[in-house]
């Protein structure tokens, strides 16, 4: 289902942006990583705690940016808390495919509420806002980078 932009804000984005469930500062996170969109000034600090089996037990984000970047990060944390690393990365892959319009119906279904951001694929300038949290999480769990930028994301 493709939502018009104002409907997308009204139905999903505003709630997560204005009343996020997972915004805050974590004491002693196991993993912390900053993700930025220099062109927007979006900035996200993602903080995770993982148990010995690699399951995400706690997750918070902090930072500032547009509603889509903040809401997307909040919805992502809704999804990945309680999931192990492998499942979380699989969801990230599904999200990336979704915003490029190449996701399978199963991948989209697995994204639950975050699937509402499917409409973003039709707004190329906003894709990098929606993917900021997810990209940051991917790099973090893969131990790849010390700072993530989605600036050159529109390959």
């Amino acid at each position: 289902m493709v939502l018009e932009i104002k409907d997308l804000y009204r139905e999903i984005v505003n709630e997560h942006n204005l009343y996020p469930a997972h915004r805050g500062e974590m004491e002693k996170p196991d993993l912390i990583l900053e993700g930025v969109n220099p062109s927007c000034g979006d900035d996200i600090y993602l903080q995770l705690k993982l148990d010995e089996n690699g399951v995400v037990t706690e997750g918070l984000f902090n930072g500032s940016g547009c509603a889509i970047s903040q809401a997307s990060a909040d919805m992502m944390l809704d999804l990945i808390i309680g999931k192990d690393k492998e499942e979380a990365l699989k969801l990230a892959e599904g999200f990336m495919s979704m915003v490029r319009s190449t996701a399978t119906p199963e991948q989209i279904e697995a994204l639950d509420e975050a699937a509402a951001l499917e409409s973003i694929a039709h707004m190329p300038a906003r894709v990098k806002c929606a993917t900021l949290g997810w990209k940051t999480m991917q790099k973090m769990l893969n131990g790849e980078a010390d700072k993530v930028s989605t600036e050159n994301d529109l390959e």
Binding site: C40, G41, S64
Partner: protein, 411 residues
């Protein structure tokens, strides 16, 4: 000025319901400009300045006539002082490489302002680094005003180059460039004026301004993309090395040496953009036909409606001077709690096109964030042109009053 007739000249506006308020990024083109480009390709297309046959001679004439037109438009003393380039960015880079690389020495100062577009910052960062010079910033008032005293304080005998925008693409204010030129010359420095945002709004006379270099883009004028101009004083240009090397800019080439063509061709390597130069000339004719005074009156009227309408909307903050007449068509603003990109996205659904982000002026965004407690390092910007209407301004204001609601706020 008959606004209905004018809008009919712009096919993209005549057939659309879009409120185009991103004119500071690029203007729309009247049919006269489109026709000049089409005529060139339909009637006399050939490689200018080379061929010895009628079409090529015609192409050369179209190109050189456009040069004369552009020189006259800004009152350059001599057609050879008008170099065609792609845009303002290329013009400033040309001066940085061909003048700055040669003439700036270690310990010299290059003076610019915090309010400059990146294209009037990055070339000077490069020169300062390469030559061991100091890049010195003038900080404007929080409304964007740069006073003559601020310039006088910043420019000393150490200054080699003063580079200032004629009009800020974010704050809309015009800088006192004529006084700045006088100050630069008193200290033996040259002044470059970035006219990208100035020329579309301010009648410009480079001799009266007494600037050494003046850079502009055609596409904001409303001419074509891909053509712009660099004016430089003849004696400076003559002493400068070429910027790009290649075809058409030479006299003789040997295996290990070359001599270069006379001005202006020395700075126009490769096949030139003659069709768009012809389009630029048509844009200049178009502007002169309407007249800067009439354009300014219309733009100020629209800006006034926007600024007065927005003043009554809670949570809206406008940047720049209080007086709408000092804005040169530009209204930069923020709305509490709303990121500019979200504002722009919801307005897009109302068929209103504005710019949101850092406007290629990140140092200014940092400065505003610090001095004006700006929430995000970005702003929204509505920029109007002479073909915009009061109805469009009213539609815009009405939409702005709903943005907070659309983004989930209760008031």
């Amino acid at each position: 000025m008959n606004i209905k007739e004018i809008r009919n000249d712009f096919p993209i506006l005549a057939n659309s319901n879009v409120v185009y308020f991103d004119n500071a990024a690029t203007a729309q083109r009247p049919v006269q400009v489109l026709k000049a480009i089409e005529d060139f390709y339909k009637t006399t297309n050939a490689n200018p300045l080379r061929g010895l046959y009628a079409w090529s001679v015609g192409a050369t004439d179209a190109y050189e006539n456009a040069r004369s037109r552009a020189a006259r438009f800004i009152n350059a003393a001599d057609d050879a002082e008008m170099i065609f380039v792609r845009n303002t960015t290329e013009a400033i880079n040309l001066v940085a490489y061909s003048y700055g690389m040669e003439e700036v020495n270690a310990g010299d100062e290059i003076v610019i302002s915090v309010m400059e577009h990146h294209s009037n910052i990055l070339p000077w960062q490069m020169i300062a680094r390469a030559k061991g010079a100091v890049l010195k910033y003038i900080e404007p008032e929080t409304d964007g005003t740069i006073t003559v005293d601020m310039i006088r304080e910043a420019v000393t005998d150490k200054c080699a180059i003063l580079a200032l925008g004629q009009v800020s693409n974010v704050m809309g204010v015009a800088n006192p460039v004529k006084e700045a030129a006088k100050i630069a010359h008193e200290h033996g420095a040259v002044i470059l004026v970035d006219g990208a945002q100035g020329l579309p709004h301010v009648k410009t006379d480079v001799q009266d301004m007494d600037c050494d270099f003046y850079a502009f883009s055609g596409h904001k004028l409303p001419g074509p993309m891909g053509i712009g101009g660099l004016y430089g004083k003849r004696k400076l240009l003559e002493n400068m090395q070429p910027f790009m090397r290649g075809g058409e800019m030479i006299e003789y080439v040997h295996r290990d040496s070359a001599t270069y063509a006379e001005l202006p061709h020395k700075f126009e390597a490769g096949t030139v953009n003659a069709a768009d130069a012809a389009g630029l000339a048509a844009a200049m004719d178009y502007v002169d036909n309407i007249g800067y005074e009439a354009m300014e009156a219309q733009e100020n009227e629209i800006v006034k409606i926007i600024m007065e309408g927005m003043k009554d909307i809670p949570h809206v903050h406008i940047y720049g001077p209080e007086d709408p007449a000092l804005h040169h068509g530009i209204v930069t603003f923020n709305i509490d709690g709303c990121h500019p990109h979200d504002i722009s996205s919801v307005l897009d659904e109302e068929n209103i096109a504005i710019r949101a982000g850092h406007h290629c002026a990140q140092p200014l965004m940092e400065y505003l964030q610090e001095k004006c407690a700006m929430e995000f390092r970005a702003t929204a910007r509505a920029s109007v042109a002479f073909y915009n209407t009061q109805e469009e301004a009213e539609r815009f204001v009405a939409a702005i009053s709903k943005v907070r609601k659309w983004l989930g706020f209760g008031d």
